[in-house]
């Protein structure tokens, strides 16, 4: 049944028990992203030393796909080098925009592969990307503000 291919068990696990959902104080940068077509919104706090992601924490309301997605990405990137994280995000993005042709590299995107089915539902792609794009945005903003990026 196709609904199960969208709603993988892993997604529900993250939705029921989201990781890093509670904003940690004093972030390097805070971003707020909205899915303008449905109103779902997340706030995401990023702690970074400019090279590494020290902490990602978040809060918000949304559907299972957007909530689970944010949980997955936050868990995946904490403790990693920024360049590596941007690569991971790019890989996830490629999968989610592939319309089903890219099933994702688990070594790279971890639980992110559970979202492979979402790529067949274009209207949900934005939900799946919400937390990922917020993370990317936060990283790029942090980079800019501390003069690391050009």
């Amino acid at each position: 049944m196709e609904l199960d291919s969208l709603y993988q068990e892993v997604i529900f696990e993250h939705y029921r028990r989201p990781l890093n959902k509670a904003l940690k104080p004093n972030p390097t940068i805070q971003v707020r992203h909205t899915n303008t077509s449905c109103g779902d919104e997340i706030t995401l706090n990023l702690h970074t030393d400019g090279k590494k992601i020290i902490e990602v924490s978040w809060d918000g309301i949304g559907c299972s796909i957007s909530q689970a997605g944010t949980s997955v990405v936050s868990d995946l990137v904490i403790g990693r080098q920024i360049d590596e994280v941007l690569q991971i995000i790019e890989a996830f993005q490629a999968m989610i925009l592939s319309k089903g042709s890219d099933s994702g590299d688990e070594k790279l995107i971890g639980d992110g592969v559970a979202f492979a089915g979402v790529s067949k539902f274009p209207a949900r792609v934005k939900c799946a990307l919400l937390g990922w794009m917020a993370t990317k945005d936060a990283i790029l903003q942090a980079r800019c503000s501390d003069g690391e990026g050009k």
Binding site: E2, L6, F12, C38, G39, D40, C63, S64, I65, F121
Partner: protein
């Protein structure tokens, strides 16, 4: 799909549903495999009967030419068809022909009024200035809210609004405070696209006129479903969209009182709306041409004319009665589902065929996704009424909206589908 006898208890519709369904080819679509399409999103846009598609095609195949400009036979025919469509729409809302303006959408219709008023020179009766007031409500669609916010911000006028009660009704308790001598415009929806609430207008139009304010009615959700009489309503302008009333996309209507339209500054300027033009300036024709610059959306207007004929043939009263019955069953059936709550009136009093609801623990997006899997198309999200969502302390609802091609089976499918989705998500 469950097949209980309970639907038999409901009124047999005066509409011949099987004949109607046959006229809408899209209803034969299969969704996500072999599911019959159960289309419950007519509040967003309606499906189209064969006669509408045929009217557009006939125009292109036999009569296509620029109206009002050419003097050759095709152009004459095109003009007659286009103006004939205007006459049909005028008849449909009991308006004079010259009061009906073809726009691209209700959104454009409302913007037309807002921009035209915004262009009125100081000293004229339409001029809006700092200190003036524009009144809307908390249940407006963004299309009847943001143009007024922008007009207010351009002119320095103040935007104020009616609140919405817990039951989803317009709260008019502070009407005398809201509509006062400074009020220049009152812009309200006729029926909420989220709650289904029909707004009683008499008291508000009377009050608006008593202070000399213009009354703008957003009739997107009413004109397609029940009789709207432009003359009886005591409003000054009415906006609605063709695509929500069986018509093609790309055509909307602005109705306005002729004496107002003829006096107001034009909005879009260009060809076919001018009286004379020099390099230095131009003078403009009266309505409707004044507000129809450029080669118009001819095929779409003509398609809308065919839609109006289709609606007339069925009869708006029967259509409305049918939709009330569908709504009655939907309200009853949905409320029997554990954890489900209706957002909007729970009774049928002054209420159209739009039902918004929430199911505890299930985000509307997820619910809508499951329903889609069963072939049921509903709308989820803020429905372009974000402030109303905030009013009800939510960010989104699931909305089912009905039209003349929906039958009781569709409603049962919705009720069953929501129950099934609830169990699916609960079990995970």
């Amino acid at each position: 799909m469950r097949n209980t006898p309970r639907r038999k208890r409901y009124l047999v519709s005066r509409l011949n549903l099987s004949a109607i369904k046959a006229e809408f080819p899209i209803l034969r679509r299969e969704i996500r495999g072999k599911n019959r399409l159960i289309y419950l999103d007519s509040g967003a846009t309606s499906q189209k009967p064969n006669s509408v598609m045929a009217a557009e095609r006939d125009f292109y195949e036999n009569h296509n030419a620029a109206v009002h400009r050419g003097a050759y036979q095709l152009a004459e025919e095109a003009t007659e068809l286009y103006e004939g469509a205007r006459a049909k729409v005028a008849g449909f809302i009991n308006a004079d022909i010259d009061e009906v303006i073809f726009t691209k959408s209700a959104t454009e219709s409302i913007n037309t009024i807002a921009y035209s008023l915004g262009s009125a020179k100081a000293g004229t009766r339409f001029h809006i200035r700092a200190g003036d007031r524009i009144v809307v409500s908390e249940m407006e669609h963004h299309a009847n809210l943001i143009p007024w916010q922008e007009l207010a911000s351009r002119t320095g006028a103040e935007l104020v609004w009616f609140k919405v009660s817990e039951e989803g009704r317009l709260d008019t308790s502070n009407i005398d405070e809201l509509i006062n001598e400074r009020t220049k415009v009152v812009a309200l929806t006729h029926q909420s696209n989220v709650l289904g609430t029909i707004v009683p207008l008499d008291q508000i139009t009377a009050k608006a006129h008593s202070v000399g304010a213009l009354f703008v009615l957003d009739a997107c959700q009413s004109v397609p479903h029940y009789k709207v009489d432009a003359k009886a309503l005591m409003v000054d302008f009415i906006a609605f969209s063709g695509h929500k009333m069986l018509g093609p996309t790309g055509v909307g209507i602005l109705w306005g009182k002729k004496d107002l339209l003829d006096e107001m500054p034009p909005f879009l300027t260009g060809g076919s709306m001018i009286e004379t033009v020099t390099m230095e300036g131009a003078t403009y024709l009266d309505a409707p041409k004044r507000f129809e610059a450029g080669v118009p959306n001819m095929a779409q207007a003509i398609g809308l004319g065919a839609a109006v004929e289709y609606l007339n043939a069925l009869g708006l009263d029967d259509i409305h009665a049918h939709e009330v019955e569908l709504t009655k069953r939907a309200l009853e059936g949905l409320q029997s589902i554990t954890g489900l709550s209706i957002i909007g009136p729970k009774d049928l009093e002054m209420r159209g065929g739009v039902v918004s609801f929430a199911v505890q623990g299930i985000h509307p997006h997820d619910l809508g996704q499951a329903l889609d899997q069963y072939g049921i198309a509903v709308r989820t999200g803020h429905h372009c009424a974000w402030p109303l969502m905030r009013r009800f302390k939510t960010i989104a609802t699931t909305r089912a909206s009905f039209y003349l091609y929906n039958d009781f089976d569709d409603i049962e499918a919705l009720i069953d589908g929501v129950e099934r989705a609830r169990k699916y998500f609960q079990s995970r």
